[in-house]
């Protein structure tokens, strides 16, 4: 959202030894200026307005990179499509598999489960928020 957060991200990348390219800055800016989820293609369009000449493969690579670096959240919505956003609010999603309606789930509802996983399997959950698929109240009635 704020310019501050953006700069923090970029400094963080520098600290980790990565280069600060205009391409990365512009993709980060798009993510920070957006409210909610964006598809790679939406991100690409907005970023190309800010930086003409920016190419599609670079945007996809940058999104992967930011996700690996934990500077962007990725989520599955619908069938196999990934969307991205900044990791400011911790939340997850309920998606209706019929009409596509989504419902946010606060992170703390899952906290207990995650520590249970960690305890039983050693896996440390992170990186991608979780999406649960089901039927919303409306679609349960009609089928």
């Amino acid at each position: 959202m704020t310019a501050n957060l953006l700069e923090t991200c970029m400094k963080e990348l520098r600290l980790r030894g990565f280069r600060l390219t205009p391409q990365r800055m512009v993709v980060l800016r798009v993510l920070h200026e957006a409210h909610g989820h964006l598809t790679p293609i939406e991100i690409c369009e907005r970023a190309q307005e800010m930086l003409p000449g920016l190419t599609e493969p670079t945007v996809y690579r940058t999104l992967n990179f930011l996700h690996e670096q934990r500077l962007a959240l990725a989520a599955h919505v619908g069938s196999g499509q990934l969307v991205y956003e900044t990791g400011e609010r911790d939340h997850h999603h309920l998606v209706c598999r019929k009409c596509g309606a989504t419902h946010e789930i606060p992170h703390d509802l899952l906290e207990a489960l995650f520590s249970q996983f960690q305890h039983k399997t050693g896996y440390q959950i992170d990186g991608m928020h979780v999406t649960f698929f089901g039927l919303c109240p409306g679609c349960q009635d009609h089928q």
Copy 2:
């Protein structure tokens, strides 16, 4: 697995008013004969051996269809790829976002959470098993 289950699926489709085409039967058979997940492309290859002339779009459409009809499970594994399997064993996945290792989670660990969702939001969770991304014990050490 067994021919019985396969026939039950097909009868079920008939009951719901859908047509029983060779294409659908062969995709169902591939899913039932497989152990664990298959990607659409793996399914396509196996199904085309059994039914030469079967085309890619039909396989994708059939997988979507079977998933909608709750006769196949779909899961996200890795970044944005969907895999399918039959819904015989109820389980979910922990996937390591570094090395891709997967770990099965029995369904009953999530049961309490799901009924909590249902209670709070009205959403009825189903249709797709859930995938949690994180770091496996080994990859936590190396970064």
